[in-house]
């Protein structure tokens, strides 16, 4: 496969000029707490599809400066269970028209996502996953080691390594996008529709009376709202506790890293859960890698360097030519992990308050669908059929959606 996907486009405007910097009004029809990708997508679809334009996005830091700025941008929909296939495939379909829909370049590139198998049990799990994808009309291909080599010549498929490549699942429609531009595109499009985007506005409490939310308290004063959506990612527990209920979320650091800029050597996305690394190469040329979370709870956006060492060891075994690449930068984000590795999107014990969290280590790919179903839930007061299974109630009923096996790597 030739490496021909490098494109030239004009750089976008500085994001400071893409949307108006609003001061909060006294009241809104809906307030979205959290100005990351999911919050911005929620605002955009609320305004565009449901006609709710008297709404605000409140962001305590700067826009899309949390996990939206820290992820490894992998997009795919090849999850195991029907519920997940429904929401993630809806997301991928939205991605496929997103740049045109919001009118903004996002470097969305369907270069394929490959997940390597290294043992018999690993292969069985991945084949099962692949068959499930086929049943759900999600594109899936089983690759032999030779196929892997053809798509990505730099992968080491020799048998004399600790965990040889014995096959792989491949989703050709998977890929990557430029995360900042996704956030800016949604913010610009939402702002153009009249949504107030308010940065530096931290929610410090809620106005809840008789089990119903009436507004939020912030460092910029009290703001009343008919509906409030919590889209706080790693800080979701903090928000839920402020509102007086518990959620089954643990906040953990998830680290990523980039190399220096290199010539294009990899034009697909390769993941390996067993040796524990995933890697793609950004349009600009840096290798972007990630692996598992650090073990412990944290809100620090930092993790241990031994986790980086572990993933680099795996990367060098799989891709011997990476050996002399220099590590440029590592960083961490705080991910909100649910017990079944699936999101929680829907209603809460507080009337007119909605929750969208638990995307854990894989939220970027879900940005469009997460916003789309959240907007439906806020506008109608009921979950869409795509997010109904992802209720907070499932931790009472036992109807879990266990996606630990389909997560690209173990977390």
């Amino acid at each position: 496969m030739s490496i021909t996907r490098r494109r030239t486009v004009e750089l976008p405007e500085h994001p400071d000029f893409l949307w108006a910097h609003a001061a909060p009004k006294k009241s809104y029809d809906a307030i979205i707490v959290g100005g990351g990708g999911h919050g911005l997508a929620t605002a955009y679809y609320l305004a565009k599809l449901h006609g709710m334009t008297n709404i605000a996005v409140l962001e305590k830091g700067w826009l899309a400066g949390g996990n939206m700025a820290r992820n490894t941008t992998v997009i795919r929909s090849n999850y195991l269970w029907d519920e997940s296939a429904g929401i993630y495939e809806h997301s991928l379909k939205l991605w496929e028209g997103l740049q045109e829909d919001v009118g903004y370049e996002m470097f969305f590139s369907q270069r394929g996502v490959m997940s390597l198998a290294h043992s018999v049990s690993d292969e069985r799990t991945k084949r099962r996953n692949s068959y499930a994808n086929a049943v759900n009309d999600i594109d899936t291909v089983w690759l032999t080691p030779q196929d892997v080599k053809e798509i990505a010549p730099i992968v080491n498929i020799s048998e004399d390594v600790r965990y040889p490549v014995i096959g792989a699942t491949y989703q050709p429609r998977g890929g990557i996008a430029k995360h900042d531009w996704v956030a800016w595109g949604y913010a610009k499009a939402a702002g153009d529709l009249g949504v107030d985007i308010i940065q530096g506005c931290e929610v410090t409490g809620f106005d809840i009376r008789e089990g119903k939310v009436h507004g939020v308290k912030t460092n910029m004063g009290n703001i009343s709202a008919n509906k409030v959506a919590l889209v706080g990612a790693g800080h979701s527990s903090v928000l839920a506790n402020m509102a007086g209920f518990d959620i089954p979320i643990q906040s953990r650091p998830l680290q990523s890293l980039v190399s220096e800029l290199l010539e294009q050597v990899l034009d697909t996305v390769i993941m390996s859960g067993m040796v524990h690394v995933y890697v793609s190469q950004a349009h600009k040329g840096e290798l972007v890698m990630g692996a598992g979370t650090d073990a412990f709870n944290s809100y620090s956006q930092r993790g241990g360097f031994h986790v980086i060492e572990h993933q680099l060891a795996a990367a060098v075994e799989l891709f011997p030519i990476f050996e002399r690449a220099h590590l440029l930068r590592t960083w961490g984000g705080i991910v909100d992990v649910a017990p079944d590795a699936s999101p929680i999107v829907g209603l809460t014990p507080v009337d007119n308050m909605y929750l969208n969290c638990g995307w854990g280590t894989g939220g970027f790919k879900a940005t469009p669908a997460s916003g789309w179903v959240m907007a439906h839930t806020i506008a109608t007061g009921e979950p869409h059929e795509l997010n109904a299974p992802f209720s907070l109630d499932r931790f009472k009923t036992g109807h879990l959606i266990d996606e630990h096996g389909a997560a690209g790597v173990a977390h």
């Binding site: 073990a295 412990f296 009923t397």
Partner: protein, 93 residues
């Protein structure tokens, strides 16, 4: 990497340990009577504070014993450590 104070062995590298999440979660009493909701809480709900957190670790590559310790989830600073089935010291804050 965290430098974790094992109450038996003293401070050691994080790579010698495995994490056990929140400390002091008691197995429910009157188990025949409690509701699905209460079981759900016991199985799935753990506190997730921003700040001081009492948590469990096991020193897998050392003495292989469990213990509890206070740790700050913002700064990663450790507070008092304490052995299982002993009185939990007050939160450092």
């Amino acid at each position: 990497m965290l430098n974790i104070p094992c109450p038996w062995c003293g401070p050691r590298d994080e790579t010698e340990f495995h994490y056990g999440s929140e400390a002091g979660v008691a197995y429910p009493e009157n188990r025949d009577e409690i509701s699905d909701e209460e079981w759900g809480k016991f199985v799935f709900i753990r506190s997730n504070p921003k700040g001081w957190f009492a948590e469990r670790w096991v020193h897998s590559a050392g003495c292989r014993r469990w213990f509890n310790v206070w740790r700050n989830t913002i700064t990663h600073e450790f507070g008092p450590t304490y052995k299982p089935a002993t009185q939990q010291p007050a939160s450092p804050q």
